[in-house]
């Protein structure tokens, strides 16, 4: 908690200042908490950039003019579930936070989800990816934005199996997210007619992957799937090319890759990777317009899909608050599930009964260095996965909120 980024603190101050100015006509005041990894391996995926996105959402929604006083606070959960749930408790109990957003690292997201249910507030994860949040561990208080492990597995897993990669080996980060991603991808691969030969679990934030890669190489699987994220994925890909794994005919499948990861790898190492994302800055005029404004505020860095998700989820939440003129959890949740999503960044969709926000997903391929026209020109679109097919069917999630018909 003490490690508030200076940026975050400055933003919180400026937001509250802006809100104060219009306090006279404010009827509803809401407090939005951006909780994520501000300094560790996932800090570039969401981190301080998510706070910038949250700030932009409040400004773009013109919350103050619509009679909503929105304040943003932020904190670093350091990827520790105990830390995350302690912050969530304090925010809900003492600081009057109404919504917690982002929460990278699935294990922390699951912990925060439980606290949110207990305190009857609202949780809108964007950076956290386990599909359990809208599956067996779903709560009436969650709206899961951007992506989940099922969507990633469905996009990349199915596409690669159909392209001929019919045997798989997993490099799995040893925590909730890795396990969920491996499980969901295994299902997708089996369904598409492939088979899984084995898996090795590595500790979170390991730096040397050569040993695990060698085991994957020894399995003779056609596809080596990286069920990890952030700098773990970056290091795996970098070292796979060093050990001649891709040159040996095996393909790498990065199951969760953000544009910031590709930027860090460089196109030379990342070219040809196929990946699934919900958002890329250079998709259409609306995403480009948003991303350029974001970059201007964030040292020239383009937003990742997790950061864009924070923006869109806040807009959706504020719309519901505006419509219901209250911040009552049940009323706002009902309104959010009832209102269709028509978002400049994520397209059309809706929020389902299990809390899953659905929208199109995209299959991208990383460009070759000679195809790239600029520093951030990273992806070309391979396919669009329509809203109805992009996420796990409602009936298959085993979410207790969904009534069996």
């Amino acid at each position: 908690m003490k490690r508030f980024g200076t940026l975050a603190a400055a933003l919180a101050v400026s937001v509250s200042a802006a809100a104060w100015a219009s306090a006279a006509q404010a009827q509803v005041s809401v407090k939005l908490g951006v909780l994520n990894d501000m300094s560790g391996l996932y800090a570039d995926i969401s981190g301080p950039g998510s706070v910038v996105a949250a700030q932009m959402a409040v400004e773009d929604f013109k919350a103050a003019e619509k009679g909503i006083k929105a304040e943003i606070v932020s904190a670093d959960h350091q990827n520790k579930p105990d830390n995350g749930s302690a912050i969530a408790r304090k925010w809900y109990d003492q600081d009057g936070v109404d919504v917690i957003l982002d929460v990278t690292t699935s294990s922390v997201a699951l912990a925060v989800s439980e606290v949110t249910r207990e305190k009857n507030k609202i949780f809108m994860p964007s950076g956290g990816g386990t599909s359990d949040l809208t599956g067996e561990k779903c709560t009436p208080n969650n709206v899961h934005w951007t992506y989940d492990t099922w969507a990633l597995a469905n996009g990349t897993g199915t596409a690669m199996t159909k392209k001929g990669g019919d045997s798989w080996f997993f490099l799995t980060a040893d925590y909730a997210f890795g396990a969920a991603l491996e499980r969901d991808t295994t299902n997708a691969v089996n369904k598409a007619g492939g088979k899984v030969l084995g898996a090795v679990k590595h500790p979170l934030s390991a730096s040397d992957f050569s040993s695990f890669l060698l085991q994957a190489q020894g399995s003779k699987a056609k596809v080596i799937a990286l069920a990890n994220a952030g700098s773990d994925t970056i290091n795996s890909i970098k070292q796979a090319s060093e050990f001649g794994i891709t040159q040996g005919g095996q393909n790498l499948a990065g199951l969760l890759i953000f544009s910031s990861d590709v930027k860090a790898l460089g196109l030379k190492a990342a070219q040809g990777l196929v990946l699934t994302e919900a958002f890329y800055w250079d998709q259409n005029d609306a995403t480009r317009e948003f991303s350029k404004r974001f970059a201007a505020k964030f040292g020239g860095r383009m937003p990742t899909s997790a950061q864009a998700g924070v923006y869109s989820s806040i807009i959706h939440y504020l719309k519901a608050v505006e419509a219901t003129k209250s911040k009552d959890t049940a009323a706002v949740m009902a309104k959010m599930k009832e209102t269709p999503i028509d978002d400049p960044l994520f397209g059309r969709g809706s929020v389902r009964a299990d809390g899953r926000a659905i929208h199109p997903m995209y299959l991208f391929e990383v460009k070759r260095p000679e195809e790239s026209k600029g520093e951030w020109d990273l992806y070309k679109t391979v396919a669009t996965i329509p809203t109805e097919e992009a996420f796990r069917p409602l009936a298959e999630g085993n979410c207790p909120l969904v009534k069996k018909s």
Partner: protein, 358 residues
């Protein structure tokens, strides 16, 4: 093919080799720590941050000045070693001074510098902070010029040095994180060492060994052995060891003890930077790379025996092997196995495997 506990023996040899490569990083880093602890009695927590800085200096040399890997291997340790000497002179040494005027000059000049740069010239926070630190250090160095430092006769507790260097490490990491983010920066393997060899034993292919990893083992072995030789077998090394035993007496023989201590600290952190440059092409160059490694390296030093030069080298390589084996048989435990060994060793031999009980 022969299998050992279900793992083909050929694959096992490959994994042992990989363990040895990781062990070389542990060895160089723990060697630097052991030199600094053995000769200066400082538990140097900035070591990880300076290792990271070594990798970053290599990246900066390439991207800002176009200087390639081989020069970086020489220049980055020199640059980081120089930073280390400034740290020793201006932050660590004053811990044992009888009066703290130099520290007041340092703090005052840094604070004024920050106010000037950040609010006066409107430079970004990271650059302003780094600039302020440089101004503070410069002012303190001017102040300390020709003023012989008064070393306190009271022995200072290790804890102060530990806390100080830990704080410095957090600051250095934070500065780099603010400026470059955590995803890391690409740094490619030098063209002379790209590619690799297929290693075979009796015609059975064992593994594909990248040339660069082979170079890492050779380079670290040479550096470790050279360091051990200098400290244990040369006259300079004898002075150093004598100065730690009894600085006053050695000083009376006309040896400039404070200078020697500063140079030793600089050498220790230069080793860290050297490891950083070695690591740059294979691990991503990112601000957290040192923090992830330093805890393990401390465990290595403790297992080897605090301050034992040869102990840290041997334990470094040996624990790399143990970790490599764990990654094959039970990968989930690979990040804990070193600490389990540390606990066991401390229970049986509290001074470490190669340490002398005092």
């Amino acid at each position: 093919m022969i299998t050992i506990f279900g793992v083909p023996s050929a694959a096992l040899f490959g994994q042992l080799l990989l363990g040895l490569i990781n062990g070389s990083f542990y060895a160089i880093l723990s060697l630097g720590l052991a030199v600094i602890f053995g000769l200066l009695n400082i538990i140097n927590f900035t070591h990880g941050a300076l290792y990271m800085m070594g990798a970053f200096v290599a990246w900066m040399l390439l991207n800002y000045l176009g200087i390639g890997y081989w020069w970086a291997l020489l220049l980055a340790p020199l640059a980081v070693g120089f930073v280390g000497m400034l740290i020793e002179r201006n932050y660590i040494a004053p811990l044992s001074f009888t009066n703290q005027r130099q520290s007041f000059v340092l703090i005052g000049a840094s604070a004024l510098g920050f106010l000037l740069l950040f609010y006066g010239l409107r430079i970004g926070p990271t650059a302003a902070f780094a600039g302020a630190a440089a101004i503070g250090v410069a002012a303190a160095s001017v102040y300390a010029w020709k003023r012989p430092s008064q070393t306190s006769t009271v022995h200072v507790d290790h804890l102060y040095g530990l806390l100080l260097t830990f704080g410095l490490a957090l600051i250095i990491q934070g500065l780099f994180r603010n400026e470059y983010g955590v995803s890391g920066l690409p740094y490619s393997i030098p063209s002379q060492l790209s590619g690799g060899q297929q290693i075979r034993i009796f015609d059975a292919p064992i593994m594909f060994m990248p040339n660069y990893r082979g170079w890492v083992i050779v380079a670290s072995l040479v550096v470790c052995m050279a360091t051990w030789f200098i400290i244990e077998k040369t006259k300079l090394g004898a002075y150093l060891r004598a100065a730690t035993e009894n600085p006053t007496l050695v000083g009376a023989f006309g040896v400039n003890v404070p200078l020697m201590i500063t140079l030793t600290y600089g050498f220790g952190v230069a080793l860290a930077a050297f490891a950083g440059v070695l690591a740059a092409p294979i691990y991503s160059v990112n601000p957290n790379m040192g923090a992830d490694l330093i805890i393990v390296v401390f465990a290595v030093v403790v297992i080897g025996g605090m301050g034992s030069i040869l102990g840290s080298i041997i334990t470094g390589f040996a624990l790399g092997l143990v970790e490599g084996l764990t990654k094959v048989f039970y990968p989930e435990a690979s990040s804990t196995v070193i600490f389990v060994i540390m606990v066991l060793v401390l229970l049986v031999k509290p001074a470490g495997l190669f340490g002398r009980a005092s």
